[in-house]
Symmetry: C2
Subunit: 339 residues, 2 copies
C-alpha cells in the first residue's frame, strides 16, 4: 500500500477531515434545527424557498495559479448567492459537495473552507450540509444555496417600454481573468479587476432591495455575459430588447487590459461573463428612484437599454453605427465543434 503524502487528505482520513473542516465554518444559526452531521439538515424558512446549485471544476472554472484556494472557496459560494440575489431573495443556507484527490493537501482544502467561511459570515449564511468524496480527477466543488424567496422575481416579467438596468460594471470578470493570467501587465485598477474575478461580490443586498421595488419587473445575474443573459431574460419574458452599447458601464482599466490582451473591449463587456452583476428591467417610474437607491446601496445602477415587443426583435445600438442583432455570445460548456 502506497504511503500517503504527509498532510494529504489520505493521511488524515475522511471523518477526521470532515471534523476539521466543519470547525472552520459557521454551522449553527437562525433556522437550523438539525445541522451538519445527521442524514439530512432540518431547516426553517420564512415562506417559499429558493434553491439553486452550481458545480465548479478545477481546470474549467478555476486553476490554482490564478487565485488562492481561499478565493476558490469564496467563489464557489458567491456564484450561488448571486443566483439567490437575482431572484430578489435572501440566501440562508448552503450545502457543499466536494470531490478531492487523496493526495490533495489538507492545507489547501482548509484554505478553501476559510474562503467559504468568510463569505458565509459576510452574508450570514449557514453551512447546513456537506459531503466529501475521493476522485482520481480534478477537484470538484458543488454548492447548493437555499434562501427565502421574498417576492421571487423571475426573468419572465419584462414588458415592452420597461428600461434595462445593470448593477456595478460589466466585463470585469474577463478583464480580471486576463490580468490574473498575466501578472506583469500593469493597468489602472488592476487589483480591483483581479479581485472581481477571483472573489466576486454577489449583489445580495441590491437583489433583495430591488426585489422589493414594485416597478422592477424581471431580473437575472450576469454569469454568462451581458448579451447572453439579456437574451435569456428577453426570451423568458417573450419580448425584444435594445441594448445601448455606449451606456455599458465598463470598469476602470478594462480598455487598457483589452488593448494589452489584443482583444476588443466589447467582447468583454458584452460576452465576458463571470461578472455576477444583476441585470434587471423596470418601468419608467424607476428612473427617478434609481439615483437614491444606488446611493443607499452604494452600488451603481446604470440604464443600458429598453424592452421592445417580441416582433421588434433584439438589437444592439451604438452612436454613429448601424444597429446590429444582439446575438448569444455567452459561455457554452460544450460549444458545438469543440471536441
Amino acid at each position: 500500500m502506497a504511503r500517503a503524502p504527509d498532510n494529504s487528505v489520505a493521511s488524515v482520513g475522511e471523518f477526521a477531515l470532515i471534523d476539521r473542516l466543519r470547525r472552520l465554518v459557521p454551522t449553527r444559526g437562525r433556522g437550523v434545527t438539525v445541522g451538519l452531521g445527521d442524514d439530512a439538515a432540518v431547516l426553517s424558512f420564512a415562506g417559499p424557498v429558493l434553491a439553486t446549485c452550481d458545480i465548479q471544476v478545477e481546470g474549467v472554472h478555476f486553476t490554482w495559479d490564478l487565485c488562492t484556494a481561499e478565493d476558490v472557496g469564496w467563489r464557489a459560494v458567491a456564484v450561488n448567492l448571486s443566483d439567490i440575489a437575482a431572484m430578489g431573495g435572501t440566501p440562508r443556507f448552503i450545502l457543499i459537495s466536494m470531490a478531492l484527490q487523496p493526495t490533495t493537501s489538507v492545507a489547501r482544502v482548509e484554505e478553501m473552507y476559510r474562503g467559504i467561511a468568510e463569505i458565509a459570515r459576510a452574508y450570514e449564511v449557514v453551512i447546513a450540509g456537506g459531503n466529501l468524496s475521493s476522485t482520481p480527477g480534478p477537484l470538484v466543488v458543488d454548492v447548493t444555496a437555499l434562501g427565502d424567496a421574498g417576492r421571487a422575481l423571475t426573468r419572465a416579467g419584462a414588458r415592452p417600454g420597461d428600461r434595462v438596468w445593470v448593477t456595478g460594471t460589466v466585463g470585469k470578470g474577463a478583464a480580471g481573468r486576463f490580468l490574473a493570467q498575466h501578472p506583469a501587465v500593469r493597468v489602472p485598477g488592476r487589483e480591483a479587476l483581479v479581485a472581481a474575478y477571483c472573489r466576486p461580490t454577489p449583489r445580495v443586498d441590491a437583489g433583495r432591495t430591488l426585489g422589493g421595488v414594485s416597478d422592477v419587473s424581471a431580473m437575472i445575474d450576469t454569469s454568462d455575459g451581458t448579451a447572453g443573459d439579456l437574451l435569456h431574460l428577453a426570451e423568458a419574458s417573450g419580448v425584444g430588447v435594445r441594448l445601448e452599447m455606449d451606456r455599458l458601464p465598463a470598469p476602470p482599466g478594462l480598455a487598457e487590459a483589452a488593448r494589452e490582451a489584443g482583444e476588443d473591449p466589447e467582447a468583454w463587456t458584452l460576452a465576458g461573463g463571470e461578472d455576477y452583476e444583476l441585470l434587471f428591467t423596470a418601468g419608467a417610474a424607476f428612473d427617478t428612484q434609481a439615483p437614491g437607491l444606488a446611493a443607499r446601496l452604494a452600488v451603481p445602477l446604470t440604464r443600458i437599454g429598453e424592452i421592445l415587443s417580441a416582433t421588434e426583435g433584439c438589437w444592439i445600438s451604438e452612436r454613429g453605427a448601424r444597429r446590429r442583432p444582439l446575438a448569444v455570445q455567452g459561455w457554452d460548456h460544450f460549444p458545438r465543434g469543440r471536441g
Copy 2:
C-alpha cells in the same frame, strides 16, 4: 479545432443538451412555483425543510461496466432519497449538478436522465434545479434532495433499553457489487442482489411511517455499513449498543456469493455498506407493533440488538462466541495510509 465525435455532448452544445435533458424528467408538480430555467427555483414546503447532498464520481461510486447508465442515474438520486427517508421525511425536490467530458455521448447522459426520471416518478419527486459543466476528468453527479421534515427523526434520540431494528436485509450492496463484477458466478438470488447494488430501493415509505411512530427514537440509513452506521447512531445519542450478530438479516445468496468471493460473509453484513436500509431504535412497546407495520409496509423489520448506556460500551454478541467490541468498519473515502 478538433471535430467533436458524432452524438457527443460537444456536438450538441450545452444549452441544447439541457433542453433535451429537461424534457426527460418531471420538472413541474405540487409546490413548484418557479422550476428549472430561472436563476433559482421557488419551492413551497409543508413546514421545516430537510436538505441533503451526495456526490457520486465515476470510477469511485460507479463504473459503466457494472451497471447501466440508467442505474447510475437512479442510484445518484436513490442515495439522497434514502437520507431524507432516514429522517422520517418526505422527499419533494431534487437538484442535479453534473460534470461531463465533452466526448461523453448524449445517449449515455440521456440514459442516466431516464433513470433519474424513473426514480423521481416512483417517489413523486420533482427535478427543480440543475447545472451542467464540462470536465477533463471522470463524470461527476451531485444530487441535492429537499423534503418535508415531518417529525425530523435524528440519530440522536436512542436511549438505554431501546431495541435496535433494521429494515430489509444487510450486506446486499457488497454482495451485489461482487456479483456485478463477476457475471459468471451463479448463486441463488443473484439478480436481486445485483439489482440491490445497481438500483437500490430507498426506504421512503418505511421512513415516513416510522417517523410517525412515537416509540421510534432514532434513525439512520445504512450507507456506510451496519456496524459503522450503528456506531454513528450510538455516538450521536451518547449511548452504548449490543449488536446480535445472529439476528442480522442477510439476503438469500449472500453466504454463497461470499464463499465464491473468498470473503467472510460477516464482512459484508457488518461493513459492506451501500445497503440503504433504515437502522432505527425503538422502545420495547414497538415490539408488538412491528409485525403489523412490516406487513403493511411489505418490508421486513428485524430486531438486531439493544441500546446500552454509554459506560457499557459498544459490542457484538454472537451465539457460542465471546462478545467483541463493535468497531468502525465502514467505508472511508480517504482511509489512512491509502495514497
